[in-house]
Each structure stands twice: as structure tokens, then as C-alpha cells.
């Protein structure tokens, strides 16, 4: 499981890849020049770092993702609950709602998620 976090700017860079993949590394660095005003080499440095972390890959100069955006952030939230709440989701939820009450819409959405949750073993 990936246990790394993205910096805010790295996250924006990753969004560029997710929104535009497959994209050539050259195009990507061109986009970074426009958006971040980076030098060409800088975007290659960041790309290489994220490839090493197993988020993206380059094959024949084309960048694709190994994890989708949703996959990555759902892994992130699970890692967060693991690290801070011992993997216990209810206690995370209790902490999350302690300061600010959930809205009716949020409660309804949660109910729906639970209702549609596939039961693995019939007890």
C-alpha cells in the first residue's frame, strides 16, 4: 500500500497527469511551464520522483498513471485512519463529527453507503 503523501504543489502536478493522461513527458513539461512557470528539467525531476513512488510510469516517453486519482486518495484516507485511529473507522467517524455535526444530506449519503454495502458473510 502506498504510504506517501503528496505536497500541495505535487498534488496539482499529479492532477495535471490524471486529467491529461496519456500524455508525453514533453507535453507535460510544457504544461508545467505554463501552469507553474517551472523550468523543463524541474517537471522531469518531479515526474521521476512520483514514478519512483509508484504513482506514475513513463513508457516510450508517454506518462500514464499506475493508480487513478480515486484509488490514490482512497488509499490515503485508509492510511490516515490506520495511522491515527488504529484502523478503526467508527472512532475516526466519531472524531470527525465531534466538532461539527453532520448535515442531513451527509447522514443520508452515509445511510445509502451502508445499505448498499455488500455483506460478505451472511450471519
Amino acid at each position: 500500500m502506498n504510504n506517501f503523501q503528496l505536497g500541495v504543489i505535487e498534488g496539482q502536478f499529479a492532477d495535471l497527469v490524471w486529467e491529461n493522461e496519456p500524455i508525453t513527458a514533453a507535453e507535460l513539461s510544457h504544461k508545467c511551464e505554463e501552469v507553474f512557470h517551472w523550468k523543463k528539467t524541474t517537471s522531469y525531476t518531479v515526474l521521476k520522483r512520483l514514478c519512483n513512488k509508484g504513482l506514475f510510469q513513463t513508457k516510450g516517453g508517454v506518462v500514464t498513471s499506475l493508480q487513478t486519482r480515486d484509488e490514490f486518495y482512497s488509499n490515503q484516507s485508509r492510511a490516515y485512519v490506520d495511522a491515527h485511529f488504529g484502523g478503526d473507522f467508527p472512532s475516526f467517524l466519531a472524531a470527525f463529527t465531534a466538532k461539527k455535526r453532520l448535515t442531513a444530506d451527509e447522514v443520508a449519503a452515509l445511510r445509502r453507503i451502508v445499505a448498499e454495502y455488500p455483506q460478505e458473510t451472511g450471519k
Binding site: 505536497g7 500541495v8 504543489i9 507553474f36 524541474t42 525531476t45 518531479v46
Partner: protein
């Protein structure tokens, strides 16, 4: 080279002395606005930079210290001195290089403010065209307070003063008192900056600002930043901010002038002999005048 070393060592031994009275004065004047007390370090800098000193009967620099310094300086230590200086410069250079490599990924936010991932602390870089760098994980509200602090650094030219201080430390690296001075100077720079920032904030904002200092306290660096030293003292300075009394400036000026007169000068060397001679002559003439006819 050894000649130069002799001079530097002598200057350092004699000049290092001034760190102690400055520390004392800094303590005595602790209720003065920090923008004054931080200037006390200029006394140390002047003493280190200026090889020629005015001789004065007010001087409290022990003459024995100068003698000991000249004796020590005859040892062939020039190579060690140079090596230490080179090491200090290289260290500073590599730290800067590592930092700028990271800063390539910085993104312009507004004006001269840049945002960058994985910065340990906010800071100002550059003297002539200073840029402010903020860690990307700051929330917008926190960023405003941190920015106020960093802008104050820019206004006060702290980047320049810190570079100068580091330069002097590179030259006088062998003097322990000057390491103390460098550390305390870094703290006073932050205190002065905190105080100036706090003066412009409301009570509620001041509380938030104090909390930010705790969060972003970072190890001492040769660039003015947000964290660095003396956490407790900084919190006390910010939360206990009071408008300075109008007596603080005259008191500060008089005491500092006095200390400068006593420690920025050299003792009147060889004054005693001519004076005694003159006094002796005076008395012998008196004798001849008063002699019975």
C-alpha cells in the same frame, strides 16, 4: 599569511571580549524595544571589522589580554584557520545549494511570495530582490500572519544582517564567544521582528501568531525565517507586547555609548611612563622654585 592570522587572532581575542558586556547590557535593557537591543550586536561587528581602535583612558579591555593574544598568535596556526574558514564557507554554500534545488519547484503566489512543498519553515531569501518562501501546507489564514512576519524581515533588511553575521562567524570561527553571539543575534533578530509584527496585530490575532511560532519553530539557519530560537522568549515577547516608554530610547543610547566607550577602545598603552615623568619633572621644578634661597 601568518601575519594576517596574527592580526585576526589578536583582534578576535580582544574583540571577543565585547560579547560579554553586550550580553550583560542586553539583559539590563531587556525591557527596551527589541529593535534597539538588536542593534547592540553592531558593537561586536564594529569591533570585529575595524582593526584600528581609538585609545582611551576609559577602556576596560585588559592590557594583559592583548599581550596574551600577541603571544598566542605567534604559533603557526594559519593553515588551520584558513581550513576552518573554508569549511564554514563550504557548509553555508552547500546548505544554500540544497535549498535552492528544492526551491526550483516553488510556484509564485503573489508579489514576491512563493509557495513550495516540503519546506521546513517559511523564510526570506535574497538581499537585493528578496523573495519570501512559504511551505505549501500553510492554511490561508496562517499564511497571512506568517507573511506579515516575513515582510517585516524584508523591511528590516534582516537577510543582509544575517549574511554579514555569518561572514564574520566564518572568519572568527575559532572563538567560542562569537558562536554564542551569533546564536543570540539570530534570536534578537526574530524577537525584534516578532515585536514589530505583534505591534500591528489585535490581541486575538496575537494569540494565533504565538501559536504559529510554536508550530513553525525551526533549527537556526543563516537566513532569516520564522522559527529559529528562543521559543519561550518569543512567545513572551509577542503576548506581553506593550508600547515602549519614551525613556527607553535615551536610556538605551546613553548606556550603549558608555559601553562603546569602555569596550570599543584600547587601553592607553604606555601612558603611565610619560605621565610619571611629567609628574616627576613638575615636582622637581616645584622643589627648585620653593627651594630656600
Amino acid at each position: 599569511m601568518t601575519g594576517l592570522f596574527t592580526r585576526a587572532l589578536k583582534m578576535a581575542m580582544v574583540s571577543g571580549w565585547i560579547v560579554l558586556p553586550v550580553c550583560l547590557l542586553r539583559h539590563v535593557l531587556r525591557r527596551c524595544p527589541k529593535k534597539y537591543t538588536v542593534c547592540l550586536w553592531a558593537l561586536v561587528a564594529v569591533r570585529l571589522v575595524c582593526p584600528v581602535t581609538v585609545h582611551s583612558s576609559l577602556s576596560l579591555i585588559p592590557q594583559r589580554l592583548e599581550l596574551a593574544a600577541s603571544k598566542l598568535a605567534t604559533l603557526p596556526l594559519g593553515a588551520i584557520w584558513l581550513a576552518g574558514m573554508g569549511a564554514m564557507l563550504l557548509l553555508g554554500f552547500f546548505r544554500l545549494l540544497r535549498l535552492t534545488r528544492r526551491l526550483k519547484e516553488a510556484v509564485l503566489w503573489k508579489d514576491n511570495v512563493w509557495v513550495c512543498d516540503y519546506l521546513p519553515t517559511p523564510f526570506v531569501l535574497g538581499v537585493f530582490r528578496p523573495k519570501i518562501y512559504l511551505p505549501s501546507c500553510l492554511t490561508p489564514e496562517d499564511a497571512q500572519l506568517v507573511l506579515a512576519h516575513e515582510r517585516e524581515h524584508v523591511r528590516r533588511l534582516d537577510a543582509l544582517w544575517k549574511i554579514l553575521a555569518y561572514g564574520l562567524l566564518c572568519v572568527y570561527w575559532f572563538h567560542p564567544l562569537l558562536w554564542l553571539a551569533y546564536w543570540l543575534f539570530g534570536m534578537d533578530v526574530e524577537l525584534a521582528c516578532d515585536q514589530a509584527t505583534a505591534a500591528k496585530l489585535s490581541g486575538q490575532k496575537r494569540q494565533e501568531y504565538a501559536e504559529l511560532i510554536i508550530v513553525w519553530a525551526a533549527p537556526a539557519a543563516p537566513v532569516p525565517g520564522f522559527g529559529s530560537h528562543g521559543l519561550k522568549k518569543r512567545i513572551r515577547t509577542v503576548l506581553g507586547y506593550r508600547k515602549a516608554s519614551r525613556w527607553s530610547l535615551p536610556v538605551f543610547l546613553v548606556t550603549t555609548a558608555l559601553v562603546a566607550a569602555c569596550f570599543l577602545t584600547s587601553p592607553m598603552s604606555g601612558m603611565d611612563a610619560p605621565v610619571q615623568e611629567a609628574v616627576g619633572q613638575f615636582f622637581s621644578q616645584l622643589d627648585t622654585v620653593a627651594a630656600p634661597q
